[in-house]
């Protein structure tokens, strides 16, 4: 190859080279450098894991190694349930691979309506609306419910989809201190009386795995005339006698106006929903943009969801085993000397708080090398700038696996100095 061939020819019609200050991606340079510095220390990239094979809800092959999964949201272990898989296959054969259309046009098939029926049975509500993801359910419901001149009052530790729902809409947004009933009361008290208000709460806060004091919070919201939405993404399946969520367990179902949830956790597939007894709820199908302007879920997905939801109603044994796993892991990690996100086991999420990013990544990698996958979480996803290893338990983890997991944490914690002498 000659010199000329590798030299770009400059002609009059070539665009001028982009000046560095006009490169729109330059604003991410600090993050690119931070990530590169981390990778250069020789650790595996915690945000680039590939599962080569998935053997069960609790086991996968990662880089050729059999690995226990402790960082999924497969709480009820429904992903390989034979009835669920069979329902998906049957719908795939009968209805094809996708709808290629919006729910309000050509994208509602009988499996979509059946899935909404399954939700109404599960939640005992008059209405159910299925979205393409849980993120879109929050985005759509929150941005549409509260309009210009109205108020959304949300917990400071709310999930990104709740914040983004506020960002998409036109309402005034006020936040209160995480789980503080007093702060919620104070902030609601300062707002003008007339405009409509929506208080947005979560049953389980997913970063630390703590639950909300819903009876107190809902009472305060009602006192100030606000409507209440509870996101039960991490509570569905194993809180309450029917597995509806924290709001059912805490006995506030009658005072919660809207429940938002997802199919991508206990249900074991993908999709989102909102259920309500509000008599006018169905109008949301016409006015909610993230519902209208996107393609509906593939029929196989809603068929698996409907089957899974119907089975979850009667999964009391699985629920009991999941709680047993959560209590054992929490106690075991606490005894080893780890700092945890909650003093008591409150949900199926147990967050291990590490000192900094270096220690968190070292610990994460040491666990992976032993054959255990957990989630690493860092700011801005985490509250108070914390670096966390988040463990989420599954009803399909055996008691033996939980003991194995505790043993792996013991070894990794000592190897990285996260626990042991002097700490």
């Amino acid at each position: 190859m000659t010199e000329a061939a590798v030299t770009p020819h400059q002609t009059a019609i070539d665009p001028a080279p982009v000046a560095p200050e006009r490169d729109l991606l330059s604003k991410f340079d600090a993050l690119i450098a931070e990530r590169q510095a981390l990778i250069d220390t020789g650790v595996r990239d915690p945000f680039a894991i590939v599962m080569e094979k998935v053997l069960s809800p609790t086991l996968a092959i990662i880089k050729g190694r059999e690995t226990i999964l402790l960082g999924t949201y497969n709480y009820m272990g429904m992903t390989f349930d034979p009835d669920v898989v069979a329902a998906g296959k049957a719908a795939l054969d009968a209805f094809g691979s996708g709808t290629t259309g919006s729910r309000v046009l050509n994208g509602t098939y009988s499996p979509h309506k059946d899935c909404e029926e399954a939700l109404k049975e599960f939640y005992g509500t008059d209405h159910a609306m299925v979205f393409s993801t849980g993120y879109q359910a929050n985005l759509g419901i929150i941005s549409t419910l509260a309009g210009k001149g109205e108020y959304i009052i949300l917990d400071a530790d709310s999930h990104a989809s709740i914040y983004d729902g506020c960002g998409l809409g036109n309402a005034e947004v006020v936040r209160f201190r995480h789980n503080s009933v007093e702060d919620l009361d104070k902030r609601l008290g300062r707002l003008p009386k007339e405009p409509g208000k929506l208080v947005v709460l979560e049953g389980v806060y997913s970063m630390l795995g703590d639950i909300a004091p819903l009876p107190e919070m809902v009472a305060v919201a009602k006192k100030h005339g606000a409507m209440v939405l509870v996101d039960e993404a991490h509570g569905m399946g194993f809180f309450g006698p029917n597995g509806r969520g924290v709001y059912e367990e805490q006995g506030v179902a009658d005072d919660v106006d809207f429940v938002v949830g997802t199919f991508s956790k206990s249900v074991g597939t993908v999709g989102g929903f909102c259920v309500s007894n509000h008599p006018k709820f169905d109008v949301m199908r016409l006015v909610c943009r993230p519902y209208v302007f996107t393609a509906s879920l593939p029929p196989s997905v809603v068929a698996t969801a409907a089957t899974s939801i119907r089975k979850l109603r009667h999964a009391a044994d699985k629920r009991a085993h999941l709680w047993q796993n959560s209590r054992r892991l929490h106690g075991g990690l606490k005894d080893l000397g780890f700092t945890l996100g909650t003093d008591t086991p409150q949900s199926a999420i147990i967050a291990v708080i590490l000192h900094d990013q270096t220690q968190a990544v070292a610990m994460w990698q040491a666990l992976l090398e032993q054959g255990l996958y957990v989630n690493m979480a860092r700011p801005p996803a985490t509250p108070a700038g914390m670096f966390l290893l988040r463990c989420s338990l599954c009803a399909e983890h055996t008691a033996e696996q939980v003991e194995q997991i505790i043993g792996m944490f013991d070894a990794a914690g000592r190897a990285t100095g996260a626990i042991g002498s002097g700490t």
């Binding site: 108020y151 005034e172 947004v173 006020v174 702060d183 300062r190 707002l191 108070a384």
Partner: protein
């Protein structure tokens, strides 16, 4: 002291406990650039200002406020309203 000067003085008082770098506070001081506050500090500070003046500074308003001077003007406006 004018009303605005009084508001400025009370806002400056609320800044002090969070002013770890000892920045000289003027109307032009920015919260992110000069005071180098992260989102958690901003939240605590905003709560303190709201309590002091018994007002609500919504997140929508906070997004528009970059300097101490802009905050003082916003507080004055909210108190009149």
């Amino acid at each position: 002291m004018t009303d605005r000067a009084q508001t400025f003085a009370r806002v400056a008082e609320q800044i002090e406990p969070f002013n770890k770098k000892g920045v000289d506070v003027t109307d032009a001081t920015t919260f992110q650039g000069d005071l180098e506050w992260d989102s958690l500090t901003v939240m605590d500070f905003v709560a303190a200002v709201e309590d002091t003046f018994d007002i609500t500074i919504t997140m929508n308003m906070q997004a528009e406020i970059e300097t101490v001077g802009q905050l003082v003007d916003a507080v004055d406006k909210l108190q009149q309203g």
